[in-house]
């Protein structure tokens, strides 16, 4: 008798298709929406200028009337800093993922479709790029391309530009591999063969038959990539070679590290902003993936 019970227990319940309330989805969508809104329209809001100090309020704690999120030890308002930082942090990550993702997807999908020597070279290049940890790669690119010393100082805009370039380069092999792996599954399907036999051009097969099928996977990983690029931007800033002067979240965090003992909110506010955004991106990406999976399983 007890044996039978154990048998039943060790088998997992088959009711895994139970619907879940997507609370996380709404939370993450709201947070991403807010951050993107602030990044785009933040400069219209009646916040204090982020780059001028209020010398009457140095190191004010959060929740004070004039400075809702407090100020830094040098008198910079945290709220306007965070609003302004959203601009660069989000912009840099989005540009990296959109451009890098497009290039990567293009290369990955075409290499999976055409195969042969081209595919082998592409796979090799992706392997080479992935063999260097992405923080190390962007660190090396930044330190060379945005090199600065007393004789050749670099401007902030050049640094942001190089930062975007290096993040783009980091994303290419990641999404390229996903695109290639996903396209490989579809390139051998019957409808592709049928299309080919009807004389459809290769470009049109890729655009109309393969890309729409590859897109879900790319989209889901794309959201994760936005999150990890925000992390890389933050890490570079903490290492002291990212965007200077508190213009991004990572940069605020880096500036606040020195004052960690007496005004800890300087560290945990940007840290939480980064963390919440990354978590939201991952959740959102996961929901996108699950939603698209469901659609596929119904067919």
């Amino acid at each position: 008798m007890s044996d039978v019970q154990q048998t039943v227990e060790v088998l997992p319940k088959l009711s895994s298709t139970k619907k879940k309330k997507p609370v996380g989805f709404y939370l993450s969508a709201t947070w991403i929406g807010t951050v993107v809104f602030l990044a785009v329209f933040g400069w219209l809001l009646p916040t204090r200028p982020w780059d001028s100090a209020d010398y009457d309020a140095l190191g004010v704690k959060p929740f004070s009337p004039n400075h809702p999120l407090g100020t830094t030890g040098d008198g910079y308002d945290m709220l306007s800093g965070l609003v302004n930082g959203a601009k660069i942090s989000i912009f840099v990550a989005l540009v990296g993922v959109i451009i890098g993702g497009s290039i990567g997807t293009f290369i990955g999908v075409t290499s999976a479709y055409y195969r042969g020597m081209y595919d082998r070279v592409v796979t090799m290049i992706f392997n080479v790029m992935l063999s260097i940890p992405n923080l190390v790669l962007s660190l090396a690119l930044l330190s060379v391309l945005a090199y600065s010393d007393e004789n050749n100082p670099t401007t902030t805009s050049r640094r942001v530009g190089v930062l975007m370039l290096s993040l783009t380069i980091v994303v290419v092999p990641i999404l390229g591999r996903i695109g290639r792996a996903s396209a490989l599954q579809w390139a051998g399907r019957e409808f592709v063969l049928a299309s080919k036999s009807m004389g459809t051009s290769n470009a049109s097969i890729i655009i109309r038959h393969i890309l729409p099928n590859v897109a879900p996977a790319i989209l889901a990983i794309g959201f994760l990539a936005v999150g990890s690029l925000i992390i890389v931007e933050g890490s570079l800033a903490v290492l002291g070679i990212g965007v200077p002067g508190g213009a991004s979240w990572g940069s605020m965090l880096a500036n606040g590290r020195g004052n960690i003992a007496y005004s800890p909110h300087e560290v945990y506010m940007p840290a939480m902003a980064i963390a919440l955004t990354v978590i939201s991106c991952n959740w959102f990406g996961d929901y996108v993936r699950r939603a698209l999976d469901k659609r596929e399983s119904k067919i």
């Binding site: 088998l11 392997n127 790029m129 890490s235 290492l239 590290r257 963390a275």
Partner: protein, 319 residues
């Protein structure tokens, strides 16, 4: 028989990837504004810069320079740092810092695996229960929490505000084991949180799939206890994914320790890579990154072969 062919192919693959990666890296050096030899030691007199240029082969063009560096590396000459008065050997730095980083990575792996294995098994066994949902949601949140933010918040709370441990520093285990472990707590926790989450999620997915196999039903119907079924019949075939991931992380973590080692001021290889890049010690930088790339590709390939040994089914699938 074809094991040798397989390994031979892998070794060639590793070599090609590392060579191309380091070659591209050395090409990058030529994009530096100004004279790379001068950047190596800006305060050196004119004659010394000339000899540096000769010594590292900068006068032989892109390919000559790369070949000079590569042949030196292969014969065990890792190059030098030229900054800061004395010329330090890179090999010395590697021998000093690599064990420190490996200790930290090893601790992080042990901690995260010993948490992830029971968590993953239990939450897969109780799929969709409240326990499973809480664990899954928490871990999914934790895996996306940036490591450096976690490190900073941990050191803020436990070191600065509560004062339980020192915020920065490193003591060798041979000097003072207790102090060593105490200083390692925060960095290891910062590294292990993300690892634990990803291992648990991997193991959970895998175990859920394994539990549906016929032989598990068979084992259970023979009257073997649940615990034994889980450990002996389910865990072993499901362990390949988690082991693969653990080994893959070894390579990636060496690079990933940069930020943790910088925040906690630990003299490891990540910190040295950061220093070499920041101070444009191009030879040291190329050598250190080559080691990381090699470690990554090496673990990557070794894992592929090891999984075939652990789980014979993948071996058959390949043939």
């Amino acid at each position: 028989m074809n094991w040798f062919a397989e390994i031979y192919k892998r070794v060639i693959g590793i070599a090609v990837v590392v060579v191309i990666a380091t070659f591209l890296l050395s090409c990058l050096m030529w994009l530096l504004p100004g004279d790379p030899a001068e950047l190596l030691n800006p305060s050196a007199p004119e004659g010394a810069i000339d000899s540096i240029r000769k010594e590292i082969g900068l006068d032989r063009g892109v390919f000559g320079y790369y070949w000079h560096w590569l042949s030196n590396l292969l014969t065990g000459n890792f190059g030098k740092y030229y900054l800061g008065g004395g010329e330090r050997e890179v090999s010395e730095v590697v021998f000093r810092t690599l064990p420190v980083s490996m200790q930290m990575i090893l601790y992080a792996q042990i901690v995260s695996l010993s948490l992830a294995i029971p968590l993953g098994l239990v939450s897969a066994y109780k799929e969709n229960s409240r326990f499973d949902r809480i664990v899954s949601t928490t871990l999914f949140t934790m895996v996306s929490f940036p490591g450096f933010a976690l490190a900073l918040i941990l050191s803020l709370v436990f070191a600065v505000q509560l004062g339980w441990v020192d915020p920065i520093g490193y003591v060798a285990p041979s000097e003072d084991l207790f102090q060593h472990l105490k200083l390692m707590i925060l960095p290891v926790v910062s590294l292990a949180v993300g690892l634990t989450s990803s291992y648990t999620r991997l193991l959970r997915t895998d175990v859920i799939a394994t539990l549906k196999e016929d032989y598990v039903t068979m084992a259970a119907s023979k009257g073997i206890s649940n615990r034994r079924v889980l450990w002996k019949h389910v865990f072993r075939p499901s362990s390949t994914t988690i082991l693969t991931s653990a080994a893959l992380n070894m390579g990636g973590l060496i690079g990933g320790t940069i930020i943790i080692e910088t925040i906690f001021v630990i003299p490891g290889i990540g910190y040295e890579i950061f220093y070499a890049i920041g101070s444009r010690q191009i030879i040291a930088m190329q050598t250190l990154i080559a080691l990381v790339a090699f470690a990554y590709v090496f673990f990557n390939s070794t894992v592929d072969i090891l999984t075939q040994i652990i789980d014979p089914r993948t071996r058959e699938r390949r043939v």
